[in-house]
């Protein structure tokens, strides 16, 4: 029981006290709290925008128009949501084990890099059928991310090195690594990008079928979104139905109990980090083959970090990750065009803050009592 007691000198007419919840809350309560928290985050950001001379309402209506206003822009939103789904899942599985992988950004870059090797080296003959090339890119992308996840996993399992710092450091390393190859080896006429891949290395897009179905013209949604949905399904089964998922949950809740139950924690740390990395790597691969069709600088506008918020906002539930990704995909689409540039980031920060603050309402009842004395 904790009490925020007012000091003796400043007597408020009411005391606010937190009381531990004993009884369970109704089913609708947690989602309602979450939605409320997100709305408050929007409100605060709006106020700040107003204070610095912006027009929050116009920004809001622009936001809606630019993200959900038509099929074309909604498809843009979904395109941005696609990597977020996979990165969000990557974070969700790691966070379930209380493994703080905040290196999804780096794993994303390594996935993009490794997948591009298939075309740039090339690892398979360029004239191979599309299925072979794309298949090889999927495998390479996942391996690339998994390798980048393995390093901090191994260091934690073997030397108990704090994974928060190592995964973060590896983000910076991954970006420099990528840049070296883009600038030095594969630069397209001195630009900060490789030449565009051959069409055989492109993921199919709806726009490709515009000739058959007119409505798809200009719709850039690509097959990556299907990868994301399949991954969410598999992840749900792993986390909720499999023995491994049970082990992950148990380690996350109480590592001592997990050890006592005969679970090998070190092995699970490495495995989960690798799977988490592989998912982020798959997101990188999907972005390279589905959207930009080449390896370039700044291929991610911070998907790896947004994925952290997505996972947390989704309460680490794989299917909710999909929904939350769409909201954040919209934020990224709108954020590209809204000035000032940090607005989307600030909004994300407020949302995450509000979400974790609102959790206190699930554990405590807030009680207002009128001051008697």
């Amino acid at each position: 029981m904790t009490t925020i007691a007012p000091s003796k000198r400043f007597q408020l007419p009411y005391t606010i006290s937190l009381e531990k919840r004993v009884e369970d809350y109704p089913k609708w309560f947690p989602p309602a709290i979450t939605i409320g928290a997100v709305l408050i985050a929007f409100l605060i950001s709006g106020i700040i925008l107003k204070l610095i001379g912006g027009e929050p309402l116009r920004v809001a209506s622009f936001f809606y128009e630019a993200t959900f206003g038509s099929w074309a822009v909604f498809s843009d939103t979904l395109v941005k949501a696609t990597p977020l789904i996979m990165v969000g899942l990557a974070c969700a599985i790691a966070f379930r084990m209380k493994l703080w992988n905040i290196g999804a950004e780096g794993q994303f870059y390594l996935g993009a890099f490794a997948a591009s090797l298939v075309v740039l080296v090339p690892l398979v003959p360029p004239e191979s059928p599309k299925v072979v090339i794309i298949g090889a890119m999927i495998i390479m992308g996942m391996i690339g991310g998994a390798v980048w996840g393995f390093i901090p996993g191994f260091l934690k399992a073997r030397f108990q090195v704090n994974e928060i710092i190592t995964t973060l450091m590896l983000n910076y390393i991954a970006i420099s690594w990528n840049n070296f190859w883009i600038f030095d080896r594969w630069s397209d006429a001195g630009f900060q990008m490789t030449p565009t891949f051959d069409k055989s290395a492109w993921l199919p897009r709806l726009a490709d079928y515009a000739r058959e179905y007119k409505m798809f013209s200009g719709i850039t949604l690509h097959l990556g979104v299907v990868f994301g949905i399949i991954a969410a399904g598999i992840m749900w089964w792993i986390l909720e139905r499999s023995s491994w998922g049970y082990e992950i949950k148990l380690i996350g809740d109480n590592p001592n109990a997990a050890k006592y139950a005969g679970i090998n924690i070190a092995r699970n740390i490495v495995l989960v980090m690798m799977v988490s990395g592989a998912l982020a790597g798959l997101a990188g691969m999907s972005e390279v083959t589905g959207v930009v069709h080449r390896l370039q600088e700044r291929i991610s506008p911070g998907y790896g970090f947004t994925g952290i918020i997505v996972a947390w906002l989704a309460k680490l539930n794989p299917f909710t990750v999909i929904l939350v990704s769409i909201l954040f995909g919209a934020l990224i689409v709108a954020g590209r065009e809204i000035q000032p540039s940090g607005l989307a980031l600030m909004l994300q920060g407020f949302i995450l803050f509000m979400i974790i603050s609102s959790d206190v309402l699930l554990r405590y009842k807030v009680r207002l009592t009128r001051q008697t004395a």
């Binding site: 703080w100 973060l168 450091m169 420099s176 947390w312 940090g342 989307a344 206190v360």
Partner: protein, 321 residues
């Protein structure tokens, strides 16, 4: 590759990490892990820079930077101390929030030239050969403050009454509580101190070491390196200061490696192909990881560790059984 220049510049760069890491030492010693150092530093850098620009007073800029970092950290304090939220997630959101706010509020600052924190020689000491030009000549005021700051904080933490209370709150808050110390208030205070120092570290960049506002590139990950240094330093401010200077010097060496055509009589690969500098850019991050591995192994061997209550919210009256 003049060692005097490298060491001189290293001390200046190291001062940034020194302030940020010692700030984090305070917060973690009180039991609160604050991963938002990067965000608080950016806020400090932005606030200091823009204040100096609009008022013409870099000193006022430093003060505002300190307050900006401190106020931002109180958000983390509220969420983790009163709401008992996960400190890792809260720290991450503080990073997003600080970065986002700094970018929003700092638009238009790029390319401006506000007055900077003054640099000067220490009379007498500056004349000592080698030592003088490295340590006591043409340094910013903040570097000299850093020299005094590290030993003073060490003395404060280990040899004074409030320092003893600080250690108690992070090691065994229930003991502190039963002896009449206000655990919540002390934790808020040291989280605030940590935020202030992170803000100061940010302003050290923008108003002294590498003046200017370059959006998120202003700090470019140094906040995270500072968090790593705290583990490497085993929560000791003197070791944190040493680590900060070491990293500062290394960073500087890396920059200087790109200049000369030959190194130790061999052709400098960086001179021929500047793209190799991407590998050099990785170096501080690789070194941080190496330092962490080293620090963690030492901690296991010596059975040292983080403050026992680090990351654990304190709730009075919830007992084990």
């Amino acid at each position: 590759m003049n060692p005097i220049i490298i060491l001189h510049a290293g001390l200046a760069t190291g001062t940034i990490l020194l302030f940020a890491a010692i700030g984090e030492v305070f917060a973690e010693r009180a039991g609160i892990l604050n991963l938002g150092v990067e965000g608080m530093m950016l806020m400090g850098a932005m606030a200091g820079f823009s204040t100096s620009l609009s008022t013409g007073s870099p000193m006022l800029g430093l003060l505002v930077a300190i307050l900006a970092g401190g106020i931002l950290s109180l958000a983390h304090g509220l969420v983790t101390i009163h709401f008992q939220a996960d400190q890792v997630v809260s720290g991450l959101s503080l990073t997003f929030l600080g970065t986002g706010l700094a970018l929003v509020l700092g638009q238009g600052l790029t390319g401006q030239n506000p007055p900077l924190v003054p640099s000067f020689d220490i009379p007498g000491l500056a004349l000592i050969p080698f030592i003088g030009p490295v340590f006591f000549a043409n340094h910013s005021l903040l570097v000299y403050v850093g020299y005094l700051f590290a030993p003073l904080t060490w003395y404060y933490i280990y040899k004074t009454r409030p320092g003893m209370h600080l250690r108690a709150v992070g090691e065994k808050p229930e003991a502190a509580d039963t002896m009449g110390l206000n655990v919540y208030a002390l934790r808020y205070f040291y989280v605030f101190v940590g935020g202030c120092l992170a803000g100061l570290a940010g302003a050290t960049i923008s108003l002294s070491v590498s003046p200017g506002w370059f959006s998120e590139l202003t700090t470019s990950g140094q906040g995270w390196i500072a968090v790593g240094l705290v583990i490497f330093a085993q929560w000791d401010p003197l070791r944190a200061a040493f680590g900060g200077y070491l990293f500062g010097a290394l960073r500087r060496t890396i920059l200087d490696l790109q200049g000369p055509a030959t190194l130790f009589g061999l052709t400098n690969p960086l001179y021929i192909n500047p793209n190799f500098s991407f590998f050099l850019q990785m170096a501080p991050f690789i070194l941080t990881i190496a330092a962490l591995v080293w620090g963690s192994r030492a901690a296991i061997r010596e059975r040292l560790g983080a403050p026992a209550a680090l990351g654990v919210p304190y709730i009075r009256g919830e007992r084990g059984l």
